[in-house]
Symmetry: C2
Subunit: 338 residues, 2 copies
Amino acid sequence: MARVNIEDVARASGVSVATVSRALRGLPNVSPATRRRVMEVASHMGYRPDPNAARLAAGKTATVGLCVTAIPIWYTGQVSAGAEAVLTVAGYDLVLIVVADRQTRRRTLGEAAGLAKRVDGLLMVDIVPTADERVGLQRAGLPWVMVGAADPSTPSVVVDNMGGAAQAARHLLELGHRRIGLISGGRAAFENSTPRERRDGFVEALAEAGVRFDPRLERPGNFSALGGYEAMMALLESSDRPSAVFAMSDEMAIGAARAAAERGLKVPDDLSVVGFDDHELAFAFGLTTIRQPATELGSEGARRLLGLLDGGPGDGRIVLPTELVVRESTGPPREKHP
Amino acid sequence: MARVNIEDVARASGVSVATVSRALRGLPNVSPATRRRVMEVASHMGYRPDPNAARLAAGKTATVGLCVTAIPIWYTGQVSAGAEAVLTVAGYDLVLIVVADRQTRRRTLGEAAGLAKRVDGLLMVDIVPTADERVGLQRAGLPWVMVGAADPSTPSVVVDNMGGAAQAARHLLELGHRRIGLISGGRAAFENSTPRERRDGFVEALAEAGVRFDPRLERPGNFSALGGYEAMMALLESSDRPSAVFAMSDEMAIGAARAAAERGLKVPDDLSVVGFDDHELAFAFGLTTIRQPATELGSEGARRLLGLLDGGPGDGRIVLPTELVVRESTGPPREKHP
DNA sequence: CTGAAAGCGCTTACAG
DNA sequence: CTGAAAGCGCTTACAG
């Protein structure tokens, strides 16, 4: 119960409580000798300031809220890990806030006044606050940065989704593919810009090569392996099936490859597959993919937020690059096209 | 800045601050009429109690610390999701505490006095506190429950590791395998009982069938896909290579299958592979595996901790069952054995 | 069933 | 450079 409090330390070191507070927090206007003595006494007594008292008195929580739509997801894990690393070093606690459905959303983002008392700022992972939510957050004086999904009026760090999708498309085009399927997002928990950007980048790159994207070749895969599997099964039912497919995530791509295998199709001979992520297991699948720096997304987002909390500027967005990683799931089409 | 505080509410509803506090928290000894009025006024004014003040006054944080050795891992994600769901419903915040190396460990588990001021209890995922750490936690009055790794003297919820590993072994034995490799944990961040239990269950099941486990067939895979890959490569170098392998996680199993493929071996004809987890992507690999209820591990652990926080008993352990899921990565050995 | 008051352990102007 | 004091917003005996 380490019941030693600041008053005990003050008494033991023969100074006032105020001086102890200043000395321990590294504030100016404390003589070196005093500071040294106080620090010694405090450490000797095993004194740990009570964060709750500090929060109440100072109005700051030294805590950041990490808002995610779901925890058990590769992407969430990467981003969280990146964020945690920088927040911890900066002395911030990280509380997890899952914003999965309308209900939890109302209880969290909708309660900015309550939220503001538990965290100093928010990191929104792939979440786009509504107009109402923004107003609430602003009114509560709660700064936030967006990660993964961007917004012109909010500090955000994103990945070059259009560019990445274009890399995928061009890679397939160069191999000679013309009829290319797309496994996209679909009924994600909340709409955000990512699937749209990847779609746009993909379609544009095709257009630049003179290939018109056939919308019948697009299927939602819900960013899950099973969704990718089902999407691919649907695409394979067509008599005029694609010779290649771009999935907006590795998990969907892997599901898609599975579907092809079940239909007796060889990857890449009968079907080329490219994903997006460079998931830990992508190499084991030999999956060609667009690597995105998911951990960095989290660490950059956290740095950004810390900047805001220090009163920094904060507008603008950071765009992180993607990289094409060629493995064995892509190759030239078997028929026709050279 | 929702600056309305409890005093404002008291004034507006014509009662004392104490009464507002009681009414809003559902404490007894408040007349129904008063309670109703206070609640109405409070909600009308948009009053949100300040958790920091409540914590300071009551000495409780309504927060649980989730201690993990690493975030971006399938298992951690599952467990965290399970825990988060029940904690949120119970009104607890969840702070993430990463205990990766000695340093972070000292700063967190080693600082029980400080920890006790930010959380009411701890959920330790695959972490075994040292004797010193236990003493510190106890002295600080901080209850904890262990998840994934058990300990006789601590409330814990685990999976039937021995039983699960035995299921894997028996499945392979029934198929006719006799020379079976083992890809185990190895240099995990911190030792815990899980790898040992799985090894014991595996070896015992072999022994029961009259098969003596050849220790040269064991390689550490570090619970990662790459580790599994490397471990398998090493196992395949032997002239007397195994006809089957059991990996203690799906990620390692998938890495192992990849290694086999690169060496020109077909799964399962040349090599049977069974994993442990039933990872989201296991189906896409056609991986035979031992399914473990990872999410339930987290939710049960959280329930257990809430029980402790309510002053419940708390000793003993819960063991969750595993299940063999047969897919296509296992089959009879090609040569000799029937 | 209700209120007055002390207390939780800090931080922060304000004086000096 | 240092201290006395108010204040942060609650909870909790204690009286009544």
